[in-house]
């Protein structure tokens, strides 16, 4: 049905000739993580620069409500998850521009509202809790071919956006008025960033779950800060840590029979603590 994807799987089976990699679910999971890691790296650096970890958390938790809404209205929950998540991301950004409240207060309000709405719906609908399990902890091993194709499309969008706007967004992160004075369309970039980040978070949920998706963005980028010396280097270090944690986490989780998402994050955290240790020695 999807010959392009089949060829990639065949190639993976040859390139990685281990027994574990001969299973279809492993090939799909591997490919999904290979697509997800660079997206998380590119956006994670900016999340750390903009101090937007809480924003990412709000989006991921809004997915909870997105799924509940899907089940309530009998629509594919993956669609309502994306729709609701995007809505929350853009609404927070809009409110930031039109309110004198601090960003974390605004996010806190949206976060709480989304969660409350989700819990209200779930508590009223019996049997919904089971559906939510895979969203809470992620379930990369059950990812489908169509998910992979969507991920590939998202990969092109996110990496295109990151390549196009990385410098400008770094500049906005330093000073909005200064970036504006230098001709950067600050508001447009902020909305675009919020939208693209929301999409990455919502796809990341598929891999590591609502609870850990922010870690997938923040931890490799934070580890990279411990070793990178400039704004170009930090991207390659983040990418390296994200890819390493994803692959190592996937294989280890299969071996230990642990949750893949959590194992990936544990590897990323190990990268962070080891580089922090290295950083503290290097500074002496």
């Amino acid at each position: 049905m999807m010959p392009g994807v089949e060829k990639v799987y065949g190639l993976l089976a040859v390139l990685l000739p281990w027994e574990a990699m001969q299973a279809g679910f492993m090939q799909r999971a591997f490919l999904a993580l290979l697509l997800l890691a660079p997206m998380c790296a590119a956006m994670g650096i900016l999340v750390v620069n903009f101090r937007m970890a809480f924003f990412s958390d709000a989006i991921s938790h809004s997915a909870f409500t997105g799924v509940a809404l899907g089940v309530l209205f009998q629509v594919d929950p993956r669609l309502t998850l994306i729709g609701f998540g995007l809505l929350v991301g853009l609404a927070i950004t809009r409110m930031k521009h039109h309110s004198e409240l601090s960003m974390d207060t605004i996010i806190g309000v949206f976060f709480a509202t989304a969660i409350a709405l989700g819990i209200a719906i779930i508590s009223a609908q019996k049997g919904l809790t089971r559906n939510l399990q895979s969203f809470l902890y992620g379930d990369i091993l059950t990812i489908s071919d169509s998910d992979i194709l969507w991920a590939a499309l998202l990969f092109l969008v996110v990496m295109g956006f990151a390549a196009f706007s990385y410098n400008r967004l770094l500049f906005v992160g330093l000073s909005e008025p200064m970036a504006h004075a230098y001709g950067v369309r600050v508001k447009a970039y902020e909305y675009l960033f919020a939208a693209v980040l929301s999409l990455v978070v919502l796809f990341g949920i598929r891999a590591v779950g609502i609870l850990l998706v922010t870690a997938l963005l923040v931890v490799p980028a934070a580890a990279a800060r411990n070793v990178a010396r400039n704004a170009g280097g930090v991207f390659w270090w983040t990418l390296g840590f994200a890819l390493f944690s994803s692959v190592a986490g996937l294989f280890t989780s299969v071996r230990w029979d642990s949750a893949t998402g959590a194992t990936v994050i544990l590897f990323a955290a190990a990268c962070f603590f080891l580089t922090a240790l290295y950083g503290s020695f290097a500074r002496r």
Partner: protein, 264 residues
């Protein structure tokens, strides 16, 4: 250079959150001049710069003279008063200089000519040696010079400086102001500078606009900075002490704006 002023403001008013910040400001900034904006804290100086940058809504008219852009609009450079810097960010001075000029992401090859241009502009502010330093590790004076180099890199028609020497020691302040005057003489841009330091204003400004929501007075430095005006503006009795001139006999004004702050 024509007769047309670089900036003219007519009845410019700004209200933010129901509070009137600026009321009917009328002022003219001559092309190629160094105009100082002075006034106590909360007088609306920074807001006026924000209005010039188009970052706050205002009523009234702000008209700019023609500039270097292809559409005739002027290029405006801006050096902010304070950046809430993320000190741990792995961004070097060179990254900062290139990121505003290069579309291609910093992680994917550099345009060699932009690096050269950055080096040249840092050289103009005696900061070429800082090029590889992370911006979080720069001193206040070094960072202000780098921001100035960044602004110069845009080849501005108008340069807006918001208290460029606040938080900088006196040696750094003198270096910065002398550099600025020298560069302005060469590049002939229009400079608008918010400053609390009246000795710098006296020494460098061609035109002084004293602001306290409205324009209180404007003119040359000797016309505006009389002891009576300073008393009226800042509420302290003071004269001007010139840091450059050891023979200066006036009572040190220090920094009237900041001394107000200290008393609060």
């Amino acid at each position: 250079m024509g007769q047309e002023p670089a900036i003219s403001l007519q009845k410019v008013s700004v209200r933010l959150g129901g509070v009137s910040i600026l009321e009917e400001v009328d002022a003219t900034v001559e092309r190629g001049s160094l105009t100082a904006l002075i006034g106590p804290n909360g007088a609306g100086k920074t807001t006026l710069l924000m209005a010039l940058l188009g970052l706050v809504p205002y009523t009234g008219t702000i008209r700019f003279g023609t500039g270097k852009r292809s559409n005739g609009h002027p290029r405006i450079g801006y050096v902010p008063q304070h950046l809430d810097l993320d000190r741990g960010a792995p961004i070097t001075v060179l990254d900062l200089m290139v990121m505003s000029m290069q579309r291609r992401p910093l992680w994917f090859f550099w345009q060699a000519e932009l690096k050269k241009k950055a080096e040249e502009n840092l050289g103009r502010v005696q900061s070429a040696h800082l090029i590889k330093k992370p911006i979080g590790k720069l001193s206040g004076g070094e960072f202000q010079r780098v921001l100035l180099a960044l602004a110069l890199q845009q080849e501005p028609d108008i340069l807006l400086l918001d208290e460029p020497v606040s938080g900088v020691d006196m040696a750094g302040e003198l270096l910065f102001c002398d550099l600025l005057e020298e560069i302005q003489r060469q590049a002939r841009f229009t400079l608008v500078m918010v400053s609390h330091d009246l000795s710098i204003v006296t020494r460098h400004a061609d035109h002084v606009i004293c602001l306290n929501r409205k324009v209180q007075c404007q003119g040359t430095a000797p016309e505006v900075l009389t002891p009576d005006n300073i008393q009226a503006i800042y509420g302290v009795h003071a004269g001007i002490y010139d840091h450059h001139d050891p023979q200066s006999h006036h009572t040190p004004a220090g920094d009237p704006g900041r001394s107000n702050d200290a008393r609060r």
